[in-house]
Symmetry: C2
Subunit: 545 residues, 2 copies
């Protein structure tokens, strides 16, 4: 029994493209005499299709796509994920299904039982949980088909569900398990994922073939990293990360197991790869080509510039350097040096004349009032406007360069530096941005060293430093991580040794700036808890605020 | 048996305020010798608390609030909604519970069984469905306690759930039902709600007391409109809409029934009330006081100005009139006249000098290229910047004045006219904005007639009219309604008699502008499907795109 895992890059709603990609993979698998080829969860429509699932027409197109694939399933079995109508009138209208196609027809359907509805997942919004646990009979083998979350309710201290689909299937004594998944990247997730697959292979003592998506869908980056596990829970192979392709396995060899060691890749290297894929797929899948961003001379825009240049190519990135009267000389020098290192087009546009024009216009209303956030924000917004003017004139998409620490505490200007179509590093705390900058420079200076070593500043007034109004990033980031990623409350955070007043001040800042984050671009997700679809907080709320 | 329904205005996470409000209501009810007082669903923490529910500290505070209320439940029973920990380790960690408090203690807990997870609702994200259907024994009566959605799985053609909690409770033969709810306003929802309560009172042949929230939480506006239904499904009383208070009922009188006719209120009047409540509570609950907006002389900003003046008072609204070289004289005259009618502060600021300053700055890059959307957007963004400068200097919150039609097709400028902290009329199609303007003028001219009668224009280039690039709003709005509110696909819409090319063009515009809506303010929800939390679409997707 030869099994193919096709780690493919689907595109939401692109039925034609997704089917064509799978048809090609099936041809390849047939040419290599595979018996089964597996595609990921909801591969025909892409994951997550979100409210498109509520359109009857979208479900019809999914059905047609499955029928199209069934035609190709001759001489080979095809396992593929797609939504399907719930034939029973009670309950949600859809199932999240795995189709087993063979001999030109649907031979078996398994409906996902455990529907993740937390963080970025909304599956119970659309799907009824499955309750049929038959196995597939194929060429003398019994196959347990499962979908993603179905295998995660195992060995947890605090299980989310009251049922475990594989326990139900075990009465039929399946020979091996196929799991089709849509498991997005977070820098600590691959290890958990491998552990869960191993736990299943161990508990049920059978080979497990786990097939994941690769590629990004707006904020979610699927990292691939599909795995093949031998009985007993020994890793047989880990597929490449962030790479699409088809890999072939002989069932008996997987059963026998082998010595295999997975590569150990540092967190920051994975993040670097993930962000590049995130940028690239956002552009490609949106039919866009070129990007623009503002280079301030600071570390955030520097890191984003490098990532974009690597994702789209130097000819597709353009940057603006927009000094004001508050900019220091080194900012321009550093930004220019970076542009030259990256070999990207840069222009220098002074914003002071625009700023002064606003001042003059506002003089009748503002005269006598002290310089404050209004004047600071005018500078940030003038830059945002210039970038958007270039974007509108030349079609370059503006990328946002905010980091997670400043997004958290509201240290950014709406419609100014918070502008942009995609937020590249807003799931990285400032300290992680430094780590990424150092990683980028590991083989030589790409980002000018001075950008990494100088104290961070927004340069919106004279001699401004981030540290004027924020604690050291080392401390700030730890508190933010505990609140945002670990979801600890103020008392629990303080009990870890942080100053009580500081913790309360920071948590309030986070809550009070929900209104800003509501209006910012989608954030490429690299951690277990990113701003955006996975973190849903009230705007008008008083808790901690 | 005297039953009090307390239709209160809670505030998310404001435990102290919510408890104080309920304690006061309990005192009132005791002074009137009520036997039971009911508060709405999740009243102690406000609805919807969203991801605050994932914070242990938030759940602890909810528990303490219930304990505080229990102390007041002496000589009277108190029914109140609050989250509670699921004592079983398997399943979600929380229940959405109704507490029956009496004699200073919790006497009974009912856990919500049907957890709405669609549109704006995310309850299965947090809660485990209940499965215990005991009734409450109190003063010789048996009471069926239910929570909101629990009573909605009845008489539907396509039921969402496979269980009906009241069917389960009927084995105990309850004497009457109390339902505590958090059912937000949509202009057609109150009728459905009354029908569902009536269907329950008829099917189970008992009095039903239905207690809803009133007041807004960011985008969701709770309209109150609690109802008391006599056995057989005859309306006994409909409580006021958009008004908080306590109403008292004698059980025997409700059992006996009476002739009662609910007031019939036109859709547009309800919308008018709802939006005023939405604005007022957004400001009050955020601790804000004053608003600012731009008056273009068009109908959208005119309607918003009226609503804000009515919500916050004339002294708390300030408007800017910001003509450009493309503005027509009547725009300024109309806007000035409106400001005078409303007796609000207005200032006129020419944006041409700023626009020209941008042109000059951009000249080296744009010279020789035709005037296009870049120049149009500079005007819109210059206005947005001036409004934000006032907002930042004086603390007035900028209100967004976009309507649903333009939000749908992307006819608006990001960081320009799409700016603002709250979107007031973005759940009203343009034709509905006209209806609202006419309603506002029903007793005399508030909005200058010319604003209502002239053809709509963005005035971003010479002689521009909306009709240059969009079909008539009558047709556009119908197509948008069918796609957005009814979720019909292109074929179904075309089959209703619309031009195929036009339908496809419009649906594509809606999908392709998802990225803009992602970055706009929360929208006050008045229909069954508003942009925002209730409509979750992919940005990078190809379906219809």
């Amino acid at each position: 029994m030869k099994i193919a895992l096709a780690q493919i890059n689907c595109h939401i709603g692109n039925f034609e493209g997704n089917v064509a990609q799978m048809q090609e993979a099936i041809r390849d698998a047939k040419s290599k005499n595979a018996d089964i080829i597996c595609f990921p969860e909801l591969a025909v429509c892409g994951y997550p299709p979100r409210d498109f699932l509520e359109f009857d027409n979208f479900i019809k197109k999914s059905k047609e796509a499955v029928e199209e694939l069934a035609k190709a399933a001759v001489g080979i079995a095809v396992v593929v994920g797609a939504p399907r109508r719930n034939p029973v009138i009670e309950g949600k209208d859809l199932y999240n299904a795995a189709f087993f196609l063979f001999d030109g027809a649907v031979q078996h359907i398994y409906d996902k039982t455990l529907l993740p509805t937390y963080d970025i997942f909304d599956e119970y919004r659309y799907f009824e949980p499955g309750s049929n646990f038959d196995v597939v009979h194929y060429k003398g083998y019994k196959i347990a088909l499962t979908i993603c979350e179905d295998i995660w309710n195992i060995g947890n201290e605090n299980p989310l569900y009251t049922i475990c689909p594989m326990d139900e299937m075990m009465v039929y004594q399946p020979d091996f398990m196929l799991n089709i998944s849509a498991s997005p990247f977070a820098y600590d997730h691959a290890e958990q994922r491998k552990k869960i697959v191993a736990t299943n292979a161990e508990r049920y003592n059978m080979p497990v073939f786990y097939c994941n998506h690769v590629g990004a869908q707006t904020e979610l980056i699927f990292d691939g990293g599909s795995v093949v596990m031998s009985p007993g829970g020994k890793l047989y192979e880990e597929l490449p990360y962030f790479e699409k392709g088809i890999w072939y396995y002989d069932l008996e060899e997987v059963k026998a197991g082998r010595a295999y060691r997975a590569a150990i890749v540092p967190k920051i290297e994975r993040i670097h790869e993930a962000l590049i894929v995130g940028i690239r797929d956002y552009f490609r899948k949106s039919g866009l080509k070129t990007a623009i961003l503002g280079l301030s001379g600071g570390i955030d825009s520097a890191v984003v510039a490098v990532l974009v240049q690597r994702a789209l190519g130097k000819e597709n990135v353009r940057v603006l350097l927009m000094p004001s009267q508050f900019s220091t000389d080194h900012s321009i020098d550093d930004a220019r040096q970076l542009s030259e290192n990256l070999n990207i087009q840069y222009d220098i546009i002074e914003i002071e004349p625009i700023y002064q024009r606003y001042e003059k216009t506002l003089e009748p209303y503002f005269s006598g009032l002290p310089f404050n956030i209004a004047e600071e924000n005018i500078q940030a917004r003038a830059r945002g406007m210039l970038l958007m003017a270039f974007s509108n004139k030349f079609g370059n998409i503006l990328l946002n360069t905010s980091n997670k620490s400043e997004m958290a505490v509201g240290y950014g200007t709406l419609y100014g530096d918070l502008a942009g179509g995609l937020s590249v590093i807003a799931d990285l705390y400032k300290t992680e941005v430094y780590d990424l900058a150092k990683y980028i420079n590991k083989d030589g200076e790409v980002i000018p060293t001075n950008i990494i070593t100088k104290p961070p500043s927004a340069e919106l007034r004279h001699n401004q430093k981030d540290s004027d109004s924020l604690p050291d990033y080392d401390i700030l980031d730890e508190i933010l991580y505990l609140y945002i990623n670990e979801q600890l409350g103020p008392k629990e955070i303080i009990s870890k040794g942080f100053d009580g007043q500081l913790v309360n001040r920071i948590l309030k800042m986070v809550n009070r700036n929900e209104f800003k984050r509501y209006q910012t671009a989608p954030v490429l997700r690299v951690s277990n808890k990113a701003f955006g679809m996975g973190r849903r907080m009230p705007i008008v709320g008083k808790y901690l605020g």
